[in-house]
Symmetry: C3
Subunit: 109 residues, 3 copies
Amino acid sequence: MKLVIAVVQARDADKLLHALQQEGFRATRISSTGGFLREQNVTVLIGVEATRLEQVLRIIKANCYTRTQYVNPLLPIVESGEFFVPQPIEVEVGGANVFVVPVERFERI
Amino acid sequence: MKLVIAVVQARDADKLLHALQQEGFRATRISSTGGFLREQNVTVLIGVEATRLEQVLRIIKANCYTRTQYVNPLLPIVESGEFFVPQPIEVEVGGANVFVVPVERFERI
Amino acid sequence: MKLVIAVVQARDADKLLHALQQEGFRATRISSTGGFLREQNVTVLIGVEATRLEQVLRIIKANCYTRTQYVNPLLPIVESGEFFVPQPIEVEVGGANVFVVPVERFERI
Ligand SMILES: Nc1ncnc2c1ncn2[C@@H]1O[C@@H]2COP(=O)(O)O[C@H]3[C@@H](O)[C@H](n4cnc5c(N)ncnc54)O[C@@H]3COP(=O)(O)O[C@H]2[C@H]1O
Ligand SMILES: Nc1ncnc2c1ncn2[C@@H]1O[C@@H]2COP(=O)(O)O[C@H]3[C@@H](O)[C@H](n4cnc5c(N)ncnc54)O[C@@H]3COP(=O)(O)O[C@H]2[C@H]1O
Ligand SMILES: Nc1ncnc2c1ncn2[C@@H]1O[C@@H]2COP(=O)(O)O[C@H]3[C@@H](O)[C@H](n4cnc5c(N)ncnc54)O[C@@H]3COP(=O)(O)O[C@H]2[C@H]1O
């Protein structure tokens, strides 16, 4: 068994969980926050047999989208009385960041 | 060292954490949600020496119970004016789903 | 790649995440609770190339502090009419408890 730990955008989480359930995969959803943008995202845990790992990765790819986000840099720069507000910077947030970790033992109690 | 990742029912979480503490095990509790029933459950992280893994699994088994839950299927089926509400379906929710993952290195800073 | 799972005190989490970002490391923050003190802490996930693991551990050490907490034992002990409230006990909470887990595969979708 493998444990898939996927950090996805909050907007894609429901659709992803539904798509996983439809194909008989089990999953657990954990609310999380990005270290950089400090925005809500979702960390999904999916324990899956090694033989079905590719299928889970395909479902994640089909349901999670890369998006461009505009972020206001933290502080406007004030120089000699002029007020200068920098342009928002463009940040590309990936659809999913996926870590596959080995599971030595799985028990359903 | 091993990292035990146990998804348990919210109702058993306090008792489980207390039982672990009594036997000197350390643990961290994370609120989570089931992918299927979308109900609150709890993901417990327990870092434990390999030699004491069986003891942790025994404590989980002794404090987490399988329960039957009745779930209303999402939408009543309306046909030709008759209103037909399907019977609730019975879902068995396991006491705990436990993943044991290898830890290459542990540091207490 | 390795997945660093670090349980840190809530007070140090922002500073740690900022220090990680400054050095180009990516991270995800998850709210959690200690099993013993039942207080809010933070579980940080950091996926990092094996060659930069030491650097991440140094950043954690530099930003997370051990603190002493005073905890009131749960129940005052009442004996023969006298009301005896025990002294608060001193508990040392580590700056960070860090688990390094192997990652078999990483995908950014
Ligand atoms: N130091 C930095 N300098 C410049 N740009 C930076 C940066 N850190 C992050 N970004 C950019 O901001 C996006 C959002 O990052 P955030 O940390 O809020 O939210 C992240 C984080 O929660 C998680 N994540 C990504 N890589 C991770 C890793 N190696 N370990 C743990 N979590 C990770 O996935 C979310 C989306 O990440 P993604 O890479 O697709 O998209 C990132 C990336 O494009
Ligand atoms: N491989 C895995 N990876 C990650 N997390 C896992 C997992 N297996 C179980 N879990 C977690 O444990 C909870 C209980 O699962 P259990 O299989 O005992 O009990 C399940 C199972 O009896 C049933 N169920 C789940 N998915 C199903 C599906 N696709 N079809 C039919 N029944 C399903 O509903 C109960 C509640 O499921 P729910 O998803 O709400 O909540 C799940 C989920 O949060
Ligand atoms: N092996 C492990 N697996 C998973 N999570 C782990 C872990 N070791 C530590 N943690 C997490 O790190 C927090 C700080 O632990 P630390 O050992 O530094 O500091 C601990 C320790 O000094 C003390 N403590 C914990 N359990 C104890 C016990 N059974 N008996 C006596 N003292 C205990 O209370 C402090 C706070 O503990 P708390 O449980 O509230 O919060 C813990 C817990 O959330």
